[in-house]
């Protein structure tokens, strides 16, 4: 009897492996969880894109749940998502902070004039130092910060409609619990 059951062991192994490999197919290996989830925003002191004498720091990102968008003029996907960012600011009143990542000041200013500026603050990170502290590995990246400036979520890639629905859900949760 026992011997007869043993015959099924390879079949069982096959199914277990099958389930794991099948799950593996659904995962996107390029989506890495941020190492900074539930950690405070790294401290920084950088100038504003508009004015090099205006200093910005992590203290100014506190107050309410917000998005933090890492972008650059050399990044084509940033151009793609820019309209979407403008729209959610205009229509849904979301707070977005911008980090201009490894870019040139004049180009960034031109871009913000030409395509509208959805950002409440424009942090100018030309050396990528803040990007390094955040673990940014490619623009665009979008983080959700809660009202205390703690990083709650990171999305790598374009914020399209589908992604925004997810981000909005997460932000509403933060608003609900944080008040």
């Amino acid at each position: 009897m026992l011997r007869r059951l043993l015959v099924f062991i390879p079949l069982l192994i096959f199914f277990v492996m099958g389930i794991f490999l099948w799950r593996g197919l659904q995962l996107d290996p390029s989506e890495l969880p941020s190492a900074l989830i539930d950690k405070p925003m790294p401290s920084f002191s950088l100038s504003s894109v508009y004015d090099e004498n205006t200093r910005l720091s992590e203290q100014q990102l506190k107050g309410k749940p917000a998005l933090l968008n890492v972008w650059a003029t050399w990044c084509p996907t940033c151009k793609q998502e820019h309209d979407q960012l403008n729209r959610i600011v205009r229509e849904e009143g979301v707070t977005i902070y911008g980090i201009n990542y490894k870019d040139e000041r004049s180009k960034a200013q031109d871009w913000l004039t030409r395509y509208e500026d959805p950002y409440v603050l424009n942090i100018y990170d030309d050396k990528g130092t803040l990007g390094l502290d955040l673990g940014v590995y490619g623009a665009p990246e979008t983080y959700i910060l809660d009202k205390d400036g703690i990083i709650r979520y990171r999305h790598v890639g374009e914020v399209n409609e589908k992604v925004w629905v997810k981000l909005r859900g997460l932000m509403q949760e933060l608003e609900g619990s944080g008040s």
Partner: protein
């Protein structure tokens, strides 16, 4: 035409090369540590390359950062911690031994042990089956022999005894 194309394609590998930066080191030992570190840290952007091989801007930044930290006198552990704090355990090509990676480090030895046990059990069982007395599933003559055959067998065995 085709031969020409093939001949041209043969030159392609010459283009393949690792990213080269010109870093200055204070001594050879530091240079070796730099090579060791960049070979063992994974590029977060182009995920199947280490940061020594990758040409992506982020890998370049990380090489510069590692070089800066080395020159500043940081230990290898400091640098690895720095990277993990920003990019997560993912960047380690040589994962740390933690409760999550135990199976990764010792799983193969576990499987080897299981295999050894299975082989031992199987050989022991086979040896038992080979010996006439203790064979658990040795077929009793009564099951396969008719009454006449059985009588004949008994006779033969008696002859043997003499």
């Amino acid at each position: 035409m085709r031969h020409l194309l093939i001949a041209l394609l043969l030159w392609l590998p010459l283009w393949a090369q690792a990213a080269i930066d010109s870093f200055e080191f204070r001594d050879e030992a530091t240079r070796d540590r730099f090579h060791q570190l960049t070979a063992e840290l994974r590029c977060p952007k182009c995920q199947n390359q280490n940061i020594a091989d990758s040409n992506s801007p982020i890998a370049e930044d990380l090489r510069t950062e590692i070089h800066r930290m080395l020159q500043q006198g940081d230990s290898d552990q400091d640098i690895v911690d720095f990277m993990v704090a920003r990019y997560g355990e993912f960047v380690l090509y040589r994962p740390r031994v933690t409760s999550q990676t135990l199976i990764l480090w010792y799983g193969p030895f576990g499987l080897l042990a299981v295999g050894v046990v299975v082989i031992l059990v199987m050989t022991r069982r086979r040896r038992k089956a080979g010996s006439p007395d203790a064979a658990p599933d040795a077929i009793e003559p009564a099951e396969t022999l008719s009454a006449a055959e059985r009588r004949r067998l008994d006779e033969l065995l008696k002859q043997d005894d003499k």
